[in-house]
Every structure is written in structure tokens, then in C-alpha cells.
């Protein structure tokens, strides 16, 4: 238990802030901490980065993380956006590389269909509940 807790703290330290002991020897990629000069492209990149998960962190998007890997991913996103690639194409490329886990925006697939079926069901159930009450009371 003790070492697990230690491990967790280390993991936290890694994500929430810059690791103290293991300073990264490589400098961060150019676009990890630099914005694109075109504000519209930067906004598109921002919007995309907000919805991509930092894989080394707990519940953080790559836009919010200081982990080196998130920096690299930001660099990838910004470079590809500046080359005119479509944000959704970049997302697809990242999902291809890292799996569904990397995207906070689930798409309908074999594994995620209940996420979209249940809300539809909820709408139906809500309508039925309301309809029954209205008919009974009116």
C-alpha cells in the first residue's frame, strides 16, 4: 500500500506539475508552449486540444497538462493544423495511434453505442412518463 501511494504521488507530480527530480533533458517541442501566429488556426488547435486526453495524467486534457508527452501532442496538433489538416482528421490519426482513450469525444462504435442509445432511451422514457401523467390528470 505504501509504495502504491508513493507511486500515485509520483504520478500526480508528473502530471499536475513539472517533475522535480527527473528534469527532462530534451527541450520541449517548439509548438508545445508556443501558439500559432494565425489566431483562427490557434483557436481551432485549442478547441481540439481541449478534447484530447493527456495519456500520462488523470483526467486532464493535453491543453491543461505540463507533462512532456502532452507537450509533444500539442506540438503535433499545432503543426498539423498549421499545415491545413482538418481537426477531425487529426483526432482520427491520434485515435488510430493511441486508441479511443485519447479522445474525450466518443464516436459511435461497437464499444460506445450505449452512450448514445441510452440518451435516446431516456428521451423516450421521459416522454412516456410525462404523457401518461398528462393523460391521467387531464
Amino acid at each position: 500500500m505504501m509504495h502504491l501511494r508513493g507511486l500515485m504521488l509520483a504520478l500526480l507530480a508528473l502530471c499536475v506539475a513539472v517533475p522535480v527530480a527527473a528534469q527532462d533533458s530534451l527541450p520541449p517541442a517548439p509548438y508545445a508552449y508556443n501558439q500559432l501566429s494565425d489566431p483562427q488556426q490557434e483557436a481551432a488547435a485549442q478547441a481540439l486540444m481541449q478534447t484530447l486526453r493527456c495519456l500520462k495524467c488523470q483526467s486532464q486534457s493535453i491543453a491543461d497538462s505540463d507533462a512532456p508527452m502532452a507537450g509533444d501532442m500539442r506540438h503535433q496538433v499545432r503543426t498539423r493544423i498549421s499545415m491545413g489538416e482538418d481537426p477531425e482528421a487529426i483526432r482520427a490519426w491520434l485515435i488510430d495511434r493511441y486508441g479511443d482513450y485519447v479522445s474525450y469525444a466518443p464516436t459511435i462504435s461497437e464499444t460506445t453505442w450505449p452512450l448514445f442509445a441510452v440518451p435516446l432511451l431516456l428521451i423516450l422514457v421521459a416522454l412516456i412518463v410525462l404523457w401518461r401523467r398528462i393523460r391521467r390528470r387531464a
Binding site: V16, A17, V20, Y33, N34, Q60, Y104, P119, A126
Partner: protein, 657 residues
């Protein structure tokens, strides 16, 4: 010695909970026996003992007694006193002790103060409260003993996660826990009423202050937690649909629905089964939240426990309580009639509609939170985040807000929609005007756009119930509703504005250089070292000016804690009436330039002002209800005296609130 005292008090409290359960249960079988007379005193003493036990833990942390395992693992002698104390519940065992303490104190309070319910229902309620309590005592004593000693006292403590060493986190957990656990009272009331089949307006009136109280604390807890995440984590976001955040939102959604449903039951004797169901669901959501956060099933800042044994324990407790209560509901709900009827256009109908919407939103949040855990069990990892929750939630939030604007204007039982056409036209017109204006002048997303329009409509509509009424004679509870509804509009405006108009700049600047963000100019005038009791830091001195006005100094820091070793960023904020400037200083790029991350967030503070308004509305309603109850009780007492009857035998009978 202190640790042993605490542990002994905890065991005694558990024993008294067992006594309370037995006494309450026996009272069901053969009325008021001698044993039944013990249920109330047992509940009160149990509360005192649990509080004593928690006090002992606080003393241990204040003294930094390193022979106690929990202190050694979570505290440090160099920590400021206030964080030593908050460290007592900034960990798994301590927070569970806090949970049971709040629960025992709530039980003591109903035992001491609640006289409205029929005695049998009251006994059943106390028994239910004791039954839930026993499970958590067992959990604490058998798998999470906070008073465990180390074979060898430690030389020094391991310290508390620096992120948790913040004033916000001193108040956030207790506030949230009071809210979570306050709902246990609603749960016990619901179970008690199901057992004795007595679901009456009086039952709703007895339950309502508890739900209101818990709801106020949940509102404040969520608001404070959101602001803490915003300024302390240093990435400028205020809500990320993180499972831990959702764990606190779900009980709030259920409690909000319960609150409104209980009001209908109290005033109109309708929605009986529905209110009971929500009472069960609300506390179930508290327990689900506790399970998510405490079992270590999610590993995030809040999840300290990484022990599967504990997770299983809570899961078993969860299934016993939720499963048991739902089973009881299924068996008994048929015998509880739905109560008074109402027409489609009536305040009840509007409340029912919004209850259904709230339940659906709860369903979405629950699904989105649990689904990734479910697939992970089958080795498929998916992420569910804002791009899912925001649009899917909006399907239900948007109609709910519309009905919420109209509902309070309608009369109970039956009304004509034509009667309220004027206020509806005004509110709807305001919403449409904003919608058009924003669409023409800016280019923002559909959700923030809807948010802005709805907040305008709702903001105006929330004051409409005051129209044509004598303000001095208006009940306090009505003021409470108006302010709480207005608070929703204010918070919504903040959320929409933040999401639509926020600007961000990343800049690498040398000392003396300037950066721009929105209407702000920011000059990095100095970077200097500084130190606190258990950290050192590099502090940037920023001179900021709004639209070229007089400049102001702010000092974001990059802190190094040494126990445990960790680096954190301390953001610096400038608050204006129309928004906040948010500044974070990062590391040096190596060429003498410093990484600055700056945000300008127009009207972001409205989110939390809205939250405070919502809670304030709750407080007003609570005070109003309590005074009305006291008055009613005094009237009843006088009436009983006049008839020469003893108060106990008088069945309370009075028309709506």
C-alpha cells in the same frame, strides 16, 4: 492514549447504533415498548461519541503524533496548523470518520428535534438511520481504522499533497460531506415512511428542512470545489466533467429534484411515491459518489485509497442499502397512492416535467461517469468528456430551463396559460433579442449562444413571481425561490460567457518585456525567489493594466514543496466586475525568457456568484420554512391546551405551505 480514546468512542458509538436499530425495530412490532424509549437517547449519545472520536483525531493531527499511522502518512511537523487540521480529513480514513460523524450528528438532531412525525414512523426512521450507520462503522473499524498505531513511531511525517494545502480545501470536504450525509436523513425518512406506509404532507414538511440543508451545503461545496480547481490547479478550467466532480454533481441533481418534489407533497399532497423514490435515489447517489472517490476505482487527485479490499467493502454496503431500499420501494410503492390530481397547465405539472428532466440529466451524468469504468473491466478504454456531456446534457437542460422560467408563475392544481402570457412574452422576447444580437455581432458556438439567451430570459422571468404581490408580505421561502432561480441564470451567464469569450495567450518573455491578452497589457518586471513554511518558489512580478489604465502588481508563483517533493503553480488573478485576468508563470526557456500563460475570462466570476446566490436562496427558504413550522407548532400547542388535550395526541392537520 488519545488515539485509544478515539477508537473506544468509535466502538461505543457503533454499539449504540446497534441498540438504536434494535429499539427502533422492536417499536414496529409491538408499539411503544420500554426498549423503544431507548432509540432517541441512543441516537443522541451516538452523535456525541462520534463527534468526540473525530475531535480526538483532530487533536492527534494538531499534535502531529507520529506514532499514529494515519498522522505519519499524511502529516508533517513543518505544516501550518490549519493544514495539519485539514489533513485529518484529507485522507481516506479521516474522511470516512468525518462522514460517520456528520451522519451520527444528523441522527442525533432528528432524535432530539423532530416531533411532527407519527411515533412509529419516527422509530422506523431512526432504525433505518442506525442500519445505514452500522455499515459505515463496520467499514471504519474493520478496514479503515484511523487510530491505528505504528509499531515504531515515525521520525517525520510523509506530508500532505501540496495541492490540498490550500484554504479552499480546508472547507470544501466538510461542506460537501455535510451535504452528502445530510441526504442520509432524507433516505431514512423515506425508508421509515415506506415501512409504516405513512406518506403525508407532514412527512414532506419534516423531511424538507433536511433536504434543503443538505442541498445548501452541496451547492456551496460544489461551488467552492469548482473555484478551487480553477485557481489552484492552474489551467484555468472550472469544470471538467471529471468523475470526482460528477460524484458531487449527481447527489445535487437528485437533491434538487427531491426538494421540489417534497414541496409539492407538502403543499398539495401529490407526488407521494415520486418523493419517496427521489429520497432513496439522492442518498444512493451520495453513496455512489463516495464509492467512486473512496474506492480508488478512479485514480485522480481525490482518490487516495488504492486498496481493492475497501472498494469491495463499500460496493457491498452500497448494494445492500440501495438494493434493499429499492426492493422495499418496489414492494410498497403500490400501496402508496399518488395523491391529489392536477391539470397539464399547473405548477405541479411544471415541477413534474422538471423533475423528469433532472432525473434524465442525472442518468446522463451517471452513464458518462460509469461507462468508461465498465468498458475498462473488459479491457476497452474509452474517455467520456465535455464533448459528450455538454451537448447530450443540453438536450434536457434547455427544455428544463424554459419550463423553470414559466413554472413559478403558474397556479397550483389548474391554471390557464393565457393568464401568464405577458410575463412569458417579456422573458421570451428578452431571450430572443439576446439570441439575435449575439448571432449578428459575434461568432460563437451554439451551446454558449443558447446559454446566453436562456440566461437573459430566465434572469428576467425569475423575478416575475414578485409581480403584483405585496413584497413586504411575501413569504421568505418565495424570496428564496426567486433568488435561487436568479442564481441559476447568473451562473449560466458566467458559464456561457467564459466558454464563448475567453482568450488565452502563451508568451515567452524576458524580464522587462510585455505581453498582451484581450484588453490587458502585462509586463514581467521581475522574477525573484521566495519561500514559505514548507516550500520555496520563484515568483514573477507582473505589472498589469486594463486598457492602458493604472497598473497593478500580481505575483504568480512556481512553488517547490519539499514534503512531499512536488512542484505546483500558484496562479495570480485580477478580478474586475467584468471578468478575471488569470496568470501562471512556467519555467525558464533556457534563453532568459520565462513562460507566461495568460487568460482573460469575461464574466467568469458570475459562475460562482451564481452558485452563492443559489445557496443563499436555499438559506432564505430554510429560515422561512423553519419559522413557519415553529409558528404552526405554537398554534397547535395553544389549540390543544384550549381543548385540554395532551399535545402528543393531536394529529397535525393544516392546509398547504
Amino acid at each position: 492514549m488519545i488515539a485509544e480514546l478515539g477508537l473506544a468512542a468509535l466502538w461505543l458509538a457503533a454499539a449504540l447504533a446497534a441498540l438504536q436499530l434494535v429499539a427502533g425495530a422492536f417499536a414496529q412490532r409491538d408499539g411503544t415498548t420500554e426498549l423503544a424509549g431507548l432509540a432517541r437517547p441512543a441516537a443522541i449519545i451516538q452523535g456525541v461519541l462520534a463527534a468526540f472520536s473525530f475531535l480526538m483525531l483532530l487533536i492527534l493531527f494538531a499534535q502531529t503524533d507520529l506514532s499514529v499511522k494515519l498522522v505519519a502518512m499524511n502529516s508533517h511537523s513543518a505544516k501550518p496548523m490549519i493544514f495539519k487540521l485539514s489533513g485529518a480529513f484529507g485522507n481516506h480514513e479521516g474522511s470516512m470518520l468525518l462522514w460517520i460523524t456528520v451522519m451520527a450528528l444528523a441522527g442525533a438532531l432528528i432524535a432530539a428535534a423532530e416531533r411532527r412525525l407519527p411515533e412509529r414512523t419516527m422509530m422506523a426512521t431512526l432504525a433505518a438511520q442506525a442500519f445505514v450507520g452500522l455499515g459505515f462503522y463496520a467499514f471504519l473499524l474493520f478496514s479503515s481504522n484511523p487510530f491505528e498505531r505504528l509499531p515504531q513511531p515515525a521520525m517525520e511525517g510523509m506530508g500532505l499533497n501540496p495541492l490540498l494545502q490550500d484554504i479552499g480545501l480546508v472547507f470544501h470536504p466538510p461542506t460537501l460531506y455535510v451535504g452528502y450525509v445530510g441526504l442520509s436523513v432524507a433516505f431514512s425518512f423515506a425508508v421509515g415512511a415506506l415501512l409504516t406506509r405513512q406518506v403525508t404532507p407532514d412527512f414532506a414538511r419534516a423531511m424538507r428542512p433536511w433536504v434543503l440543508g443538505a442541498w445548501i451545503f452541496l451547492t456551496l461545496g460544489i461551488t467552492a470545489g469548482s473555484y478551487w480547481a480553477y485557481y489552484e490547479l492552474g489551467w484555468g478550467g472550472w469544470w471538467f466533467w471529471d468523475p470526482v466532480e460528477n460524484a458531487s454533481l449527481m447527489p445535487w441533481l437528485a437533491a434538487t429534484a427531491l426538494l421540489h418534489s417534497a414541496s409539492v407533497l407538502a403543499a398539495r399532497d401529490a407526488l407521494r411515491a415520486w418523493t419517496i423514490m427521489l429520497g432513496v435515489v439522492a442518498f444512493s447517489m451520495s453513496m455512489v459518489g463516495t464509492f467512486l472517490v473512496r474506492s480508488g476505482i478512479l485514480t485522480s487527485v481525490h482518490a487516495f485509497a488504492v486498496d481493492p479490499e475497501r472498494g469491495t467493502f463499500i460496493l457491498v454496503l452500497l448494494s445492500i442499502y440501495i438494493g434493499g431500499a429499492l426492493l422495499l420501494f418496489a414492494l410498497r410503492a403500490g400501496t402508496v397512492s399518488e395523491g391529489e390530481r392536477f391539470s397539464v397547465t399547473s405548477r405541479e405539472a411544471a415541477l413534474v416535467f422538471n423533475n423528469v428532466m433532472l432525473s434524465a440529466i442525472l442518468g446522463i451524468v451517471l452513464l458518462g461517469t460509469l461507462y468508461p469504468l465498465l468498458t475498462e473491466a473488459f479491457d476497452v478504454r474509452v474517455s467520456v468528456g465535455p464533448p459528450y456531456f455538454n451537448p447530450v446534457g443540453a438536450i434536457f437542460v434547455v427544455p428544463m430551463l424554459m419550463v423553470m422560467a414559466v413554472g413559478p408563475l403558474l397556479r397550483w392544481r389548474q391554471d390557464n396559460i393565457v393568464r401568464i402570457r405577458l410575463p412569458m412574452l417579456i422573458a421570451g422576447g428578452a431571450a430572443l433579442a439576446v439570441l439575435l444580437l449575439v448571432t449578428v455581432t459575434t461568432n460563437i458556438g451554439i451551446l454558449p449562444l443558447l446559454g446566453l439567451a436562456l440566461s437573459a430570459g430566465l434572469g428576467i422571468a425569475s423575478f416575475m413571481p414578485l409581480r403584483g404581490r405585496k413584497l413586504r408580505l411575501l413569504p421568505l421561502a418565495t424570496w428564496g425561490m426567486v433568488i435561487a432561480h436568479f442564481g441559476i441564470a447568473v451562473a449560466l451567464f458566467g458559464m456561457a460567457s467564459e466558454s464563448a469569450f475567453s482568450e488565452e495567450t502563451l508568451a515567452a518573455v524576458e524580464v522587462g518585456d510585455q505581453a498582451e491578452i484581450g484588453p490587458w497589457q502585462v509586463v514581467l518586471s521581475e522574477v525573484r525567489p521566495t519561500a514559505g513554511p514548507n516550500w520555496t518558489a520563484l515568483e514573477g512580478r507582473l505589472l498589469v493594466s486594463y486598457k492602458g489604465g493604472t497598473s497593478k502588481e500580481i505575483d504568480p508563483q512556481s512553488r517547490n514543496f519539499w514534503a512531499p517533493p512536488q512542484e505546483t503553480t500558484e496562479s495570480a488573478l485580477v478580478t474586475r466586475w467584468n471578468g478575471q485576468l488569470y496568470a501562471v508563470i512556467g519555467r525558464e526557456a533556457g534563453d532568459g525568457r520565462w513562460q507566461l500563460r495568460l487568460w482573460w475570462k469575461p464574466f467568469v466570476t458570475m459562475i460562482w456568484y451564481g452558485g452563492i446566490l443559489i445557496a443563499l436562496g436555499g438559506v432564505l427558504a430554510l429560515i422561512g420554512r423553519l419559522f413557519a413550522d415553529l409558528k404552526r407548532r405554537a398554534v397547535k400547542l395553544r389549540g390543544a391546551e384550549r381543548r385540554g388535550l395532551s399535545v402528543r395526541n393531536v394529529e397535525p392537520r393544516d392546509a398547504g405551505a
